[in-house]
Every structure is written in structure tokens, then in C-alpha cells.
């Protein structure tokens, strides 16, 4: 910084005395309106201290005369939202499933509501688009373990499967290998037989007649004659193209050896009845509903 020089010799205006690389700063005060605006903002800030929560204290904070909190505001907003939705959701609650299906407005509401609730609660297992994953059914297709009518879907959502709820779906795939019911070579044979039921290729030289016999002795009770499945027991249809756990031989051997008992939680109590209803309608409308 050079020594303080009051006036800039080119413009003749006074300077601040600051100089960088020979460039001097002219002393140009802020316009008065600007300064006044600045003071006004400071006064405004004092208002904030008084009205809103402002200062952190050792344990707590100054609450301000309005006692405003973001959480309270959100809670109030949510409550307002609920009362706003109230009428419509009530209509959803009183209408029967069939009535909802046949009323475009109710259907649209149920689908929209169902979709958001599905995203929050069901997507972790069934995927955000309900496309499922190994062991978690794809809800877009037309293969239903426990039935695909609106009522059946709603029941499954409400009470779950093997969920521990008194009215939950029960029934499981037994562990024929682990429990010593079938020997390994028998398991391989019946696995190939099951593949043949849905037109899949079989291992060279496997004994189809033996497979049929093992199936008739052990599996027909649940999976039915010809392996068409039984929705009462959640027994899969073995003749279609859809496999919950996979259709390759190794997977089938594993399924037959160790059994399967996937759990669908019961949503009753966690979600209110009209929400469950909306979800059933949504799942049904994904395209696979019967």
C-alpha cells in the first residue's frame, strides 16, 4: 500500500488510500437508499430474534414469541391433508371392491393411493414396479399362489402368508431331502419330472415313469393331479411358465430338498382398512388380476 494520498490525480476525486498494483480505490460512498435498506434489514433481523426461535442455549433454545417449530408446522399440514382427503378416503372405505372397480373416479383414487402406499411398504420385497424377485412374486403376471381375485388379493395383503396372524395363509413346501423322505437320486428324478410338466427339457436317461410315481406318492396331495397347483394351500402350479424360485434343475433340487416357506407379512393393523383396500385394487389393476 502506498502512502495515503487524498485525491486521485486523474479524476480529482478522493480515494480511500487503498492501492493495488497502482490502481487506487476511489472513495465512492454507497447511495443513501442502499444504506437505509441495509439498516432496515438489520432491524428486520431483530424482529426475527423476537418472533422466531433464534438462540441456542445450553439445553434448549429461545423459543420466540410465536413458539414456531417446523415439526409442528409439518404435523399441522399433515393433519390438514388428512381432513382434506377424509371425504374421499371415507368413500373408499365404504365402497365394496366391486363398486370401486366400476367407478372410474374411485378406481383412479384407489390406484393412486395404492401406488404410493405400495412404494412405501411393498416395494422393498416386490420391487417398485411390483415386478418381484426370486422368492418374491411378480404381481404383474397372472400367476397367483393364493388367488388373484380382488377379494383374494385383499385377503393376502390383510393377513399375509405364514405371517403368524391367526387368519394368515398357511401351508408350505416340505423339505423332502432334509427330512429324509426322499433320497437324492429320487429328488433328481422328480425334479426332472416337474420340469417336464411345463415342457422344459429333462436330463438324458432319466426315468419318467419313476418320476411320475414319486410325484404321485409325495407331491399330488398339495400340487394336485398333473401338478396344476392348489391356491388353498399356496401350492404352485407346476405346469405354467412362471417359477417363483427358478426352474433350472439345481434350483428345483434345492426346493425339493429343503422346502420353501416365504413369508408375506400381515398388513392389518399397520395400514388402515381403506388403504389396504386401495392397495388391493392397485395390485389387481397391475394386470394380473383375475
Amino acid at each position: 500500500m502506498s502512502q495515503h494520498n487524498d485525491t486521485d490525480h486523474i479524476s480529482g476525486r478522493s480515494t480511500t488510500g487503498h492501492e493495488w498494483d497502482g490502481i487506487e480505490e476511489l472513495n465512492t460512498p454507497l447511495p443513501r437508499w442502499w444504506v437505509l435498506t441495509f439498516y432496515a434489514t438489520i432491524i428486520w433481523a431483530f424482529g426475527y430474534w423476537v418472533v422466531y426461535p433464534a438462540w441456542p442455549l445450553v439445553s434448549g433454545y429461545t423459543a420466540g414469541v410465536l413458539h414456531y417449530t417446523n415439526r409442528a408446522a409439518v404435523t399441522a399440514n399433515l393433519a390438514q391433508l388428512e381432513t382434506m382427503r377424509g371425504e374421499k378416503m371415507k368413500a373408499l372405505g365404504t365402497a365394496s371392491l366391486a363398486e370401486i372397480e366400476n367407478d372410474p373416479a374411485l378406481l383412479a383414487l384407489a390406484r393412486a393411493r395404492g401406488k404410493t402406499v405400495f412404494g412405501d411398504n411393498c416395494a422393498p420385497c416386490h420391487g417398485s414396479g411390483a415386478a418381484g424377485a426370486k422368492g418374491y412374486p411378480n404381481l404383474n403376471d397372472d400367476d397367483w399362489l393364493w388367488g388373484g381375485t380382488l377379494e383374494q388379493i385383499m385377503q393376502t395383503i390383510q393377513f399375509g402368508a405364514r405371517s403368524g396372524h391367526a387368519r394368515a395363509h398357511e401351508g408350505q413346501m416340505l423339505a423332502f431331502g432334509k427330512d429324509g423322505v426322499l433320497k437324492s437320486d429320487e429328488i433328481v428324478t422328480v425334479a426332472n419330472y416337474v420340469r417336464s410338466l411345463s415342457g422344459l427339457s429333462t436330463r438324458k436317461g432319466y426315468d419318467a415313469a419313476k418320476g411320475e410315481k414319486i410325484f404321485a406318492d409325495n407331491c399330488v396331495a398339495c400340487h394336485g393331479d398333473g401338478g396344476k397347483g392348489n391356491q388353498e394351500l399356496g401350492a404352485a402350479n407346476l405346469t405354467d411358465k412362471i417359477w417363483l424360485y427358478g426352474s433350472d434343475e439345481a434350483t428345483l433340487i434345492e426346493t425339493i430338498s429343503n422346502g420353501r416357506a416365504g413369508v408375506m407379512p400381515a398388513w392389518e393393523g399397520r395400514l388402515d382398512p381403506s388403504t389396504i383396500k386401495a392397495m388391493a385394487v392397485y395390485v389387481h389393476s397391475l394386470g394380473g388380476g383375475k
Binding site: 476525486r13 478522493s14 415386478a131 411378480n138 397372472d142 405354467d240 411358465k241 394386470g287
Partner: protein, 486 residues
């Protein structure tokens, strides 16, 4: 013009001089003449359109708004006489903006800042406010005298009256504004009974304040400091554009009427300008046009009227100040005839562009479809395998019925071999051709499933085309997407 300016002068020289010039009060004088009449006419037209248009009715049939011009924001519709625009058609406004730009260019090429002087809202309202000022406080002389003298009760009353009328005009300007956004008669009633939505009052407040401040107080300051147009138009103008010009070849040297007469009697030349300053007195931006073309001139032509009146009185030819171009000054000095060339490449191009944009917009408007279809493929999952081995794809179809009545349409799909269509929530009588009812003037969104049998030879994706047909009118719309196999 070029004069050596020292940087000291440029910077204001003195420490105490501010870097901006304080507003000097302008007292435009009343004037009468051709251009003043044109301005009165255009003002009446512009204000008439603005204030009365929302009150105009237009019968669109049952259930539709019967206001000729209505911007219906809640329902996302824009009505302009027989035209009804949907939000996705706002590109028509782009067309209008382009049209407006080219019209401005053309006006500029023909007559300089014609927009500024005659049509700009700032000019129109300021002119109106000046008229009120002259009516309440008297003409230029009276106002100057009043401002210089003490504030008497009579003067205060006049001023109060002026402010009151200004506020009423400003308030009514804001009021007319909100009428464009809601059914005008209902809104007027609601406003009067304080039933109208808060936003209406807020907008009236904003428009009242801005009209009052801009037209009443900022006046020429807007043109000089706030408006970018004077800067832009300098780049658009050329030597052929007509501008309000003081013909100094005729006016200079300035001399008194008597001296001029004497001079001319001797056969000597004498300037026509009598230096009466009338042109300066009437100028709404307070400039002296005799200093040549300048940023402050909004080309309102009032100085032409003022000077013409003087010329008439002293018996000299009119239009000492007039619409003229630079070239003519030189030509007259060297004894050549004046030339005007309104038709030249620039103006022809602008006119052609204007005609073209008009044609394109008209074509788009006349051929726009009133039945439309958008399609969106499901993203998750993109394809679903069914138990029998068939493949199904899900789509969201959005149907647009822009007509004012419900209509029955059939939905067809052209896609993979034996593709079948099912609309969720619709039980079709004819399985492969579902029919739905589209509500009038609305969009309907439905989930549509297309199922096709699958074999390994099928392409991974193939085109699928949805076609909708109005059963009654035969109108058709279609949209294409893809059918995907897993």
C-alpha cells in the same frame, strides 16, 4: 460534436458531484395538431381494448366460459374468441412473440421508435396521466408558477384532486388486469363484496402501484433509464428510417421573425427557426430535438405539431421539424430532391417474415387436432411373462378431447401378431376393440395392457401403434411406442 473531454469532466470533476443526474422536472405543454390527434386516437383504441375486452362475451355453449378473452389458470385453458388453447399449445404464444418482434423491427425500419411514441403502454398511460395533470393543475406555465410559488390551499386541493384521479385510473388498470383471469361479471361482484380470492386483490394492488408510480411519477425516467429498447433500436435503425428530425438545413441560422423577413426581402437566406422553444416545451422527455437525434427522443411527433403551429403563424412552410432521414438533409443542402424509400430489402424481409409467421400460425391453428393421444411405456417392469407363456406390456395412454362434448372412441392396436388390448377398468364388449367415453374438454388417462403370444424368434422390440377413432365424427389420432420382450 467531438470535443476533447478530460477524464476529470467525465468523472464529474468535483468530489461533491453525484455520479447520477437528479431528475429535472418536465412540464410538457398542451399542443394540438396532426400527431396529437393520432396519439389521442391510438390512446383511445389501446385503453378501450385493454379496459373493455374482458367484458366482452362469447358464447361457447353449455359448461364452457362465455368470456371472449379469458386466461383460465386453474383449469389451464386460454380462450381467445373462437380459439381455445391447452397448456401444451403455448407455442402459439412463441409465434405471437416472434410476430411482435418482427413487427417492431418493421416499424423501426420505417419510422424509428414509432412503438415508443405511440403504442408503448408506458407512453399511453403517461400521456393519459399528463392529460389529467393539465386538467387539474393547468398547463405548463401555470404548473411552473405553482411549483415556484407557495403552497396555497387551492393549489393543494388541485394536487390532491390530481393524485386522486391518478389513483383511480391506476386502480382501474389493476382491476381490468385481473378480469382477464376470471369470469369478469362474477369477479366484479366478488371484488365489490370482498368475496374475491386474495390473489385478485394482491394483483390489483401490484398493478395499481406500478401504474401509479410508473405513469404518474417515473414517466420519462422509464424511457431514459429503465427501458432497454432505445439501446436496442439503435442497432436496428439505418439511414433510411424516418425519424423525427429538425431540418437544420432549413432552420439555421435561427433568427427572429422580423430579421428573417428583412433578410429574405434582400434575397438573402435566413433560417426558419425563430428559437421560440415551443418544440422543447411540449416534449414529454424534455429534450431539444434541434440538438439532433438522441436517446431521449421517443418519436412522439408532438414537437412537429408545436413547430407546425409556429410556422403557420409566421407564414413559413410547415414541417421544419418532421419525419425525415439523414440522407435528405445532405441531399437538400446540395440541391438534390428528397428521397424516401420505404420499400427496401430490410423492410421487404421483415414484411415477408411477418407474413410467413402469420401463415404458419394460421395453418397450425386451422389444422390442429381436437383429438389427441400420448403414450408412455411402463418402465418397471418393461415386459411381463404370463403363465401361458405370452408376453404383456403395460402402457399409460393419455387421451385428449379438446371438443366441448363427450365422445365415444374406439381404441385399436397394431403391434406384434395377434396382439390383444385390454384397458384396465374397462370391460369391453368387443374384446380386441375396447370403446371408452372421453369427457369433454379434458384429458383422460388410462392404463392399457397389450398381450401377444411369444416365441423365441420374436424381435426384442417391435413397434406398436395405438389408434383411436371417434365413432361419431370419424376423427382419428394415433401414437406409436414399442412392444418389448423379456
Amino acid at each position: 460534436m467531438t470535443k476533447n473531454v478530460t477524464s476529470k469532466e467525465l468523472m464529474g470533476g468535483d468530489d461533491d458531484l453525484p455520479l447520477y443526474a437528479p431528475q429535472k422536472k418536465i412540464y410538457p405543454q398542451r399542443v394540438s395538431g396532426t400527431f396529437r390527434r393520432i396519439k389521442w386516437g391510438l390512446m383511445a383504441l389501446c385503453l378501450g381494448v385493454y379496459y373493455l375486452l374482458p367484458l366482452l362475451r362469447w358464447n361457447r355453449g353449455l359448461g364452457a366460459p362465455d368470456q371472449a378473452v379469458l386466461i383460465d389458470l386453474p383449469n389451464e385453458r386460454f380462450y381467445f374468441f373462437f380459439i381455445e388453447l391447452w397448456p401444451q399449445e403455448v407455442y402459439y404464444f412463441t409465434g405471437l412473440l416472434i410476430l411482435a418482434a418482427f413487427t417492431l423491427f418493421l416499424m423501426n425500419a420505417l419510422g424509428g421508435r414509432t412503438w415508443c411514441g405511440y403504442l408503448c403502454p408506458q407512453t399511453v398511460w403517461t400521456d393519459l396521466f399528463y392529460a389529467v395533470e393539465r386538467w387539474t393543475e393547468g398547463d405548463r406555465r401555470a404548473r411552473i408558477k405553482a411549483d415556484a410559488g407557495p403552497l396555497t390551499a387551492a393549489r393543494l386541493a388541485r394536487r390532491a384532486l390530481k393524485q386522486a384521479i391518478w389513483l383511480i385510473i391506476a386502480w382501474w388498470t389493476g382491476g381490468a388486469w385481473v378480469l382477464y383471469f376470471s369470469d369478469a361479471p362474477t369477479l366484479v361482484k366478488d371484488l365489490a363484496t370482498f368475496q374475491a380470492p386474495a390473489i385478485a386483490y394482491i394483483w390489483i394492488g401490484i398493478l395499481t402501484a406500478s401504474t401509479y408510480l410508473l405513469a404518474g411519477h417515473a414517466r420519462e425516467q422509464v424511457c431514459l433509464y429503465m427501458c432497454p429498447w432505445p439501446r436496442i433500436q439503435a442497432a436496428l435503425t439505418d439511414e433510411w428510417a424516418l425519424n423525427v428530425t429538425y431540418k437544420y438545413d432549413r432552420g439555421e441560422p435561427r433568427c427572429s421573425v422580423k430579421k428573417g423577413r428583412a433578410q429574405r426581402a434582400l434575397g438573402e437566406t435566413a433560417g426558419d427557426c425563430v428559437d421560440c422553444n415551443q418544440c422543447v416545451a411540449v416534449c414529454p422527455t424534455g429534450i431539444d430535438i434541434r440538438n439532433g437525434a438522441q436517446l431521449g427522443c421517443i418519436q412522439c411527433g408532438l414537437c412537429i405539431d408545436a413547430c407546425d403551429n409556429v410556422m403557420k403563424r409566421i407564414g413559413r412552410p410547415m414541417r421544419l421539424i418532421g419525419y425525415d432521414n439523414d440522407i435528405n438533409v445532405q441531399r437538400r443542402t446540395s440541391g438534390k430532391a428528397e428521397v424516401f424509400r420505404p420499400v427496401r430489402s430490410r423492410t421487404v424481409v421483415y414484411a415477408a417474415l411477418i407474413a410467413m409467421v402469420c401463415a404458419v400460425m394460421l395453418h397450425a391453428l386451422l389444422t390442429r387436432s381436437l383429438l389427441d393421444l400420448n403414450v408412455l411405456h411402463d418402465r418397471n417392469p418393461v415386459a411381463v411373462k404370463l403363465s401361458a407363456g405370452a408376453i404383456r406390456n403395460g402402457y399409460t395412454l393419455r387421451f385428449l378431447n379438446k371438443r366441448g362434448f363427450d365422445r365415444v372412441i374406439a381404441v385399436d392396436v397394431d403391434g406384434p401378431a395377434n396382439a390383444q388390448i385390454h384397458i384396465v377398468g374397462v370391460d369391453s364388449v368387443t374384446p380386441d376393440r375396447p370403446m371408452i367415453v372421453l369427457a369433454r374438454d379434458a384429458t383422460t388417462e388410462l392404463r392399457v395392457l397389450v398381450t401377444a403370444s411369444f416365441d423365441e424368434t420374436m424381435e426384442k422390440t417391435q413397434p406398436v401403434k395405438f389408434r383411436i377413432t371417434d365413432i361419431g365424427l370419424g376423427e382419428v389420432a394415433s401414437a406409436t411406442d414399442h412392444f418389448v420382450t423379456p
